[in-house]
Amino acid sequence: MTAMVSLLDLTKDFTAGTQSVRAVDGVSLEIERGDIFGVIGYSGAGKSTLVRLINGLETATSGTIVVDDVPITGRTERELRPARARIGFIFQQFNLLGSRTVAGNVAYPLRVARWSKERREARVAELLEFVGLSDKARQYPDQLSGGQKQRVGIARALATSPSLLLADEATSALDPETTHDVLDLLGRVNTELGVTIVIISHEMSVVSYLCNRVAVMDAGRVVEQGDVYDIFSAPQRPVTRRFISTALHDRPSPEVIERLRLRHPGRIVTVGMRDTGGSGTLLTERLRAHGVDGSIVYGGITDIGSRPIGSLTLELVGADTDIDALIASLRARTDVEEHDRGPHDDGPTRARAAR
């Protein structure tokens, strides 16, 4: 089976007068059927433009896009209309029609697709039931909370049973609790309805919570992409590491290390926790084997795609040679970072992570 979305060497320039800005720069991506694919990047990285290219809201400067075996590039606005009915789109600001009720909003794409009144009503009822807003059908958008508005947006995007749902910062205008509700709903859209989802976000926590694959964008380019767990456990680029640290909060910053120093005179190391290498069991077992005392002073372990990931920072107390041997043996299985003792100590110089 072919990919749901294929982007090949996609480029988009915006021109204003004599100024030209390259928003998307040579992006190639394959998004498989059934994926929840995250695209992450800082604002201005080109991710919103990228997602608008996929359904033709923006016209590519060069490159090709194929969605569900239908070419999107090189087509006129009129030719794109039927293709767009097969691609749902949800927005950060919801973009609901304020002059129509919740039911009217969900029915709008069905009117566009010329469904009969009876079929429309049945479909709207079914969709509102799915998103849990059956009791709000007659209300207007300005009577709803942000989370409810996005649920209407999702119901509306799903009305014509699209095979692909594009979500542009769908949770960025929501509070953390509502964000989780909406992400759970998107998860159900994927598992229960079999809809492939592309979600754009600047929050790594959205990606870690929902996605199975991710692409990291920086200055219009995809700098890193792959399985979410792989990217989290072995980020290659600084920009990716920064995003991951915002989602995990597990690695101490230099300021935190300095504060830890005041209370903990021993050697301080951060040990990566992975399902492939480092684990709590491994750590306890090695500490015992090398006769070193270790107390956990910082860190955390999160679950990504039902697999553990994170790091623990420990203060190690024991003979220097034992500690060196312990670190060496841990490094064979996971990454270990030893933090500098500072200028007044004679300890080993900064030892960087092994991976």
Binding site: N55, L57, R78, R81, P82, A83, R84, A85, I87, F89, F91, Q93, N95, L96, L97, G98, S99, R100, Y108, P109, R111, V112, A113, Y140, R156, T160
Partner: protein
Amino acid sequence: MNTGGENLWPLLLTAIGQTLQMVVATLVIGGLAGLVLGTLLYTTRPGNLLANRAVYTVLNLLVNIVRPIPFIIFITAVLPLTVQVTGSSYGTRAVVFPMAIMATFATSRIVEQNLVALDPGVIEAARAMGAGPLRIVWTVIVREALAPLILGYTFLFVAITDMSAMAGAVAGGGLGDFAIQYGYQRYNYAAMAITIAVIVVIVQFAQLLGNKLASRVLRR
């Protein structure tokens, strides 16, 4: 309110009828044409739904040329055209022609200004759902801006009533004509005062209706 033994009440009633006729005809013709022109101005703007710099520039220039012409001058300037179109140079029917043209241009700006305030996101959403431009104009752009448009048209009603008074100058009849002929030229201040009172009542009523309709659309 009699002048030289002449009973003016029937004349006043006729004048009210003529004014309403002029205002309603102008509002319908100029209002609809202005809605189309204003929507075109908004949608052909660079970056908008039917972006077309050439069309926008021409329309924008046209509106800017016609709108500043004082209406009293405009009526006389387009007189030959009025005769061509209506077959007459004077009277209520004839004067609706220049009024409708002026109202079209005035409406177009009011419509454009109200549409500019629209959230472009809802238009993008409609495009993403596969809606075509004509459908978007009617079911999204005009419908979403309906409440301010109603208030805009209420404002327009008042402006057209004002315009209709000047129509008296070319024997268009109506309340303006009545006030000048009987109130001003024959020093009948009672006639003048009553005419003003009638106009104030008509305008008040229109404003009340417009406000009611707009708040109903806004559900407030």
